[in-house]
């Protein structure tokens, strides 16, 4: 780990100003991803500005009937919150399927959104990686890519985003509130994370100094009937091979509304809009669920080791929607 200077700002504008002045400064909250990466010198900030006590650690109902989640809320507290558990169970389940109890107790909402990929080449400073060092190459494309993307990848990067929480938030159409040097803005979560394109070094659309302050969940009745399904190689404490966040509203045997997002398949949580469109207004049932999944996966471009993710994603989407249609 490179030597760095530790700072605590007095307030959010102070923190933002501190980053604006120092191009190689980063925000520190729970540290569970950043400290991990700093030890390996994959991330090498000169300055850490501690924001763990600056942003809100509360979960509050908003005027429009939704919920505002402070960026400093720990993953544990968010997963255990009674409002989230009853109104947005997919989010609680997603969080509980991630990491471990110890990690969830430290990790924050903001940090979880910003966590970096788990690609083994990203994590190894002795191998090339376009995300770490633009232009050095992507060894995963021809290498160990069992865990890598089947959708939205580019010739420069095939990494996936590891967050479970973000997949659920994507299905819920959350908004990410951000405070930066140029003021505050509100980013639809689908616009927060990027596809790699030819700038794989940029995970998100945030500018330097922009601090996540809160995440808003819009009110969503169909979220009452939602769930998260994560497939991994062991029973716990592992990243997703494929995951599905789904919410479903069926009336008189017909899909009135549906939300679907996929994890483990792309550089960002994958909102399955094609599948959703194929399902709305159609009879609920296994055949249609499978057909919609296949439509979404038509554009899948498997790598040498991850072709299994296509039938896996198809099966998990189908099964999850089936369970939601039967459980309501």
């Amino acid at each position: 780990m490179k030597p760095y200077h530790y700072e605590q700002a007095r307030d959010i504008p102070g923190a933002v100003a501190a980053l604006a002045e120092q191009p190689n400064a980063k925000y520190l909250a729970g540290g569970t991803n950043l400290v991990d990466l700093m030890k390996l010198e994959i991330m090498t900030p000169d300055v850490l500005v501690d924001v763990r006590r600056l942003t809100s650690d509360r979960i509050e109902e908003t005027e429009d009937g939704g919920v505002r989640i402070g960026a400093a809320v720990t993953n544990s507290d968010l997963a255990a919150d009674r409002t989230i558990r009853s109104r947005y169970p997919v989010l609680s389940q997603a969080l509980l399927s991630g990491a471990s109890g110890q990690l969830r107790n430290l990790a924050t909402t903001g940090g979880n959104l910003l966590q970096r990929t788990r690609c083994v080449y990203f994590y190894d400073t002795t191998t090339p990686c376009n995300k770490r060092e633009p232009g050095s190459g992507c060894p995963a494309i021809e290498g160990h890519n069992k865990d890598h993307a089947i959708l939205g990848a580019s010739e420069h990067c095939v990494a996936t985003h590891p967050s479970d929480m973000a997949v659920a938030m994507t299905a819920l159409e959350a908004f990410v509130n951000v405070h930066g040097p140029d003021g505050e803005r509100r980013i639809p979560i689908e616009d927060l994370h990027r596809l790699p394109g030819d700038e794989p070094e940029r995970d998100t659309t945030l500018e330097h100094g922009e601090l996540i302050t809160a995440v808003d969940l819009p009110p969503l009745d169909l979220a009452y009937n939602s769930k998260y399904r994560k497939v991994r190689e062991r029973a716990s404490y592992a990243f997703a091979l494929v995951s599905v966040a789904a919410a479903l509203d069926v009336e008189d045997g017909v899909v009135r509304d549906v939300r679907l997002a996929l994890g483990g398949v792309a550089h960002k949580p994958w909102r399955a809009t094609k599948a959703e469109e194929a399902l709305r207004g159609e009879p609920a049932g296994e055949e249609n669920f499978r057909a919609a999944a296949e439509i979404e996966l038509e554009d899948a471009r498997p790598l040498r080791e991850n072709a299994f993710k296509v039938p896996l994603a198809r099966n998990v989407i189908t099964r999850t929607l089936l369970e939601l249609s039967e459980e309501r």
């Binding site: 083994v120 190689e233 029973a235 896996l312």
Partner: protein, 696 residues
């Protein structure tokens, strides 16, 4: 007392709580890094980024300029070692690079943080040469080693395999593969090196303090009496701490160069994947021929595996096939590919573990072809004598294990049809396998017993406890050997200051050290009687056991597993496993159960999770941490039922016991694999059986 008389006592056989329990649960038991040393320095290694070639240039100037950096040691300034015959250990003596991850030097600094960062900014350039790290069965440069590990013959041949196989009524010809695996004990390899003048003390994480001393001393040109190795508590080894590795040399070299201050070196988890040994990947072709009654007429087990170019290690993968089943014709062979890779080494049950996975999966397949229940098929092929040695077994109760295991597990009435049973989204199946592990004993151990007054006895032997329960078991054995209560015994282990002990490995510890304790106790009572004076002392060596010439000595086990496969995703869960063992007399039922559940849990991980993935373009293991190298979590393990059958074996040792540290892993991975086949109808022959291999 002759070794053919089994001693019955009051302490042996009782489920005594571990003597080191209170220290372990409070975290106050000192592991290697945790012994207090004065004013230490911290070492962080430099590793090669290429798999083959030479170091062209090392620029350590930026690192050396950092405040707190005391030394950067490389082959350019390292002291010359006295003995460089062991190429794995003769580090920093030349510019040659033999594998990716090899130690090229180290930074020594005032703190761990300084040393770690300084190592990142040392610039090393290479004259890189093309490397070869690909293990394939069709390589044209596979060679036949002179012998395989353990001193066994490389190839064996009985009868006429080719004739018997070609005329067999039922034939099986399949290839099974096990991946590279890393032992990954929870405590990383650690050396704290302290020089005082010409005397070296090593606080080590090792399975054998005395073997470390014996290896390290001549490397530094020292008489062994000048080297002390201390290891009272060791955080696991599973074979990787059985032979000394380069970390001991690196720390001692750095401390030698620095002079005057101890040097502390604990490997990072990432570094555990390149310099401390591993289990070779194996490619195993098994051919079995049987007659219409399901009797094996031909067995062939051909192994292809790898070794390092710098030092040979030939895993004895086909060894168990030489004894396990009766047949008229049998062939076993081992062929090696010498690659630009780190040196493989022991990993729990070297040989038996990967070999019996393949053999027991093959047995399952041919039983099915013969339309026989897999338990019955094994019983039908039970041998009368040990084919490997031509000797009768001192005791062999595998059949009893199979029958008892089948009963406890509920095997009767099993429908052998694969993919026939479904519960919701789960496909359910069951599998069985058997296993053997030899009763090992190693030479050289000695025990010193001394009366301390007040009815207390010190019993001293430099044995290690890596979690096996040595502290407790040897206390119990000592108590019975001296015919006193356990509270009267002061056991001293884990230090070269007490008499020589062989390495804790090959499931040989209790047999070896226990026999020696009995001999020393006999000699003590003979010399000093029942009412000794304070200071009365005796030292004795392990007695010979002439019965090893007359009998083949093996432990046996039977394993039953229920597996559930998710029909949509290929996820595998194992809600229950049953292991029944014939292992002679149990010294401590509590710690014995732990050995069995531990071995079976490791076998579960071998079947479903573990794989060190090598990227051949770079030459190293790319999933080199606990996030990506998967070992079972608590949620992966369901119920494990352990039982052992009553087995009297008067020939093995005075305790009537057989080593149990490794047999747990030997049969469990095949039982899991067989259960997954039964559940899903999909036979995956290359481990691990991960969801991608089952999803449809």
């Amino acid at each position: 007392m002759s070794t053919t008389t089994r001693v019955s006592g009051r302490a042996i056989g009782t489920p005594l709580d571990r003597i080191d329990g209170p220290q372990k649960v409070t975290g106050t038991a000192p592991y290697a890094y945790e012994h207090h040393v004065e004013n230490p320095l911290y070492l962080y290694p430099l590793h090669s980024d290429v798999a083959r070639g030479r170091v062209a240039r090392i620029d350590a100037s930026a690192a050396e300029a950092l405040p707190g950096v005391v030394l950067v040691i490389t082959h350019e300034n390292a002291p010359r070692l006295a003995d460089t015959s062991d190429k794995e250990l003769a580090i920093l003596q030349s510019d040659e690079v033999a594998f990716r991850g090899q130690y090229l030097g180290a930074v020594v600094a005032e703190t761990f943080e300084i040393a770690r960062h300084a190592a990142q900014i040392v610039e090393i350039s290479y004259d890189e040469e093309p490397h070869d790290v690909a293990l394939r069965a069709d390589r044209d440069d596979l060679y036949t080693p002179d012998q395989v590990s353990g001193g066994f013959p490389t190839d064996t041949e009985e009868g006429d395999f080719d004739e018997a196989f070609s005329s067999a009524a039922v034939k099986l010809d399949e290839t099974y593969a096990t991946p590279m695996e890393h032992n990954n004990p929870m405590e990383p390899h650690t050396t704290v090196a302290v020089w005082e003048g010409g005397d070296l003390t090593l606080y080590e994480s090792t399975q054998g303090p005395h073997p470390v001393r014996a290896t390290v001393a001549p490397i530094f040109g020292l008489d062994p009496s000048r080297v002390r190795v201390v290891a009272p508590y060791v955080g696991g080894g599973f074979g990787s701490k059985g032979l000394p590795h380069a970390n001991s040399i690196l720390a001692a070299l750095a401390a030698r160069k620095v002079e005057g201050r101890p040097v502390k070196f604990a490997l990072t988890r990432q570094q555990m994947f390149s310099c401390v040994g591993y289990r070779t990947p194996t490619i195993q072709r098994i051919r079995l021929g049987a007659d219409e009654d399901g009797r094996l007429t031909a067995i062939s087990h051909e192994v292809v595996e790898q070794t390092a170019k710098i030092k040979e290690f030939a895993e004895q993968t086909a060894i168990a096939t030489r004894t396990m089943y009766a047949t008229g014709s049998r062939r076993t062979t081992h062929r090696l590919a010498a690659l630009d890779v780190p040196v493989p080494s022991w990993m729990r049950a070297p040989g038996e573990c990967p070999g019996m996975y393949a053999l027991e999966a093959a047995m399952d397949e041919i039983a099915i072809k013969c339309n026989l229940d897999p338990v019955e098929f094994r019983i039908r092929n039970e041998p009368e004598i040990d084919a490997e040695t031509g000797l009768p077994y001192s005791s062999r109760n595998l059949v009893a294990c199979l029958r008892e295991g089948a009963r406890r597990f509920g095997w009767e009435g099993r429908d052998p049809t694969p993919r026939a049973r479904r519960e919701g989204r789960w496909l359910v199946g069951t599998g069985v396998a058997s296993a053997t592990y030899p009763v090992g004993r190693l030479p050289g151990s000695r025990v010193r017993i001394r009366c301390e007054g007040d009815g207390r006895y010190a019993v001293e032997i430099g044995a290690a406890d890596i979690g096996t329960g040595t502290w407790t078991a040897l206390t119990q054995i000592s108590a019975d050997a001296l015919d006193v209560g356990v509270e009267a015994i002061d056991l001293k282990i884990g230090d070269t200051n007490v008499p020589f002990a062989s390495v804790e490995g090959g499931s040989s510890g209790i047999t070896t050290w226990g026999s020696t304790i009995f001999e020393a106790a006999r000699a003590f009572r003979e010399q000093h009687g029942q009412d000794p004076s304070e200071g009365d002392e005796v030292e004795a060596g392990m007695p010979a056991n002439p019965e090893t010439e007359n009998y083949a000595m093996h432990a046996f086990g039977a394993y039953f597993v229920e597996a559930r496969v998710d029909a949509d995703t290929g996820e595998v869960r194992v809600p229950r496993m049953t292991g029944v063992f014939a292992v002679g007399n149990i010294i401590n039922p509590k710690t014995a159960r732990s050995q069995f559940i531990g071995g079976m849990t490791m076998g579960l991980g071998m079947a479903l999770h573990e794989e060190s993935v090598v990227d051949e373009r770079f030459g190293h293991v790319v999933n080199h941490d606990f996030a990506e190298y998967h070992i079972p979590t608590n949620a992966d393990v369901g119920e494990i039922y352990i039982a052992w059958i009553e087995e009297e074996d008067p020939y093995v040792n005075p305790m009537g016991s057989k080593g149990i540290g490794e047999i747990g892993i030997v049969g469990s991975s095949a039982a899991v694999a067989n259960a997954v086949y039964h559940a899903s109808g999909i036979r995956v022959r290359d481990l691990p059986i991960t969801p991608d291999k089952l999803v449809q």
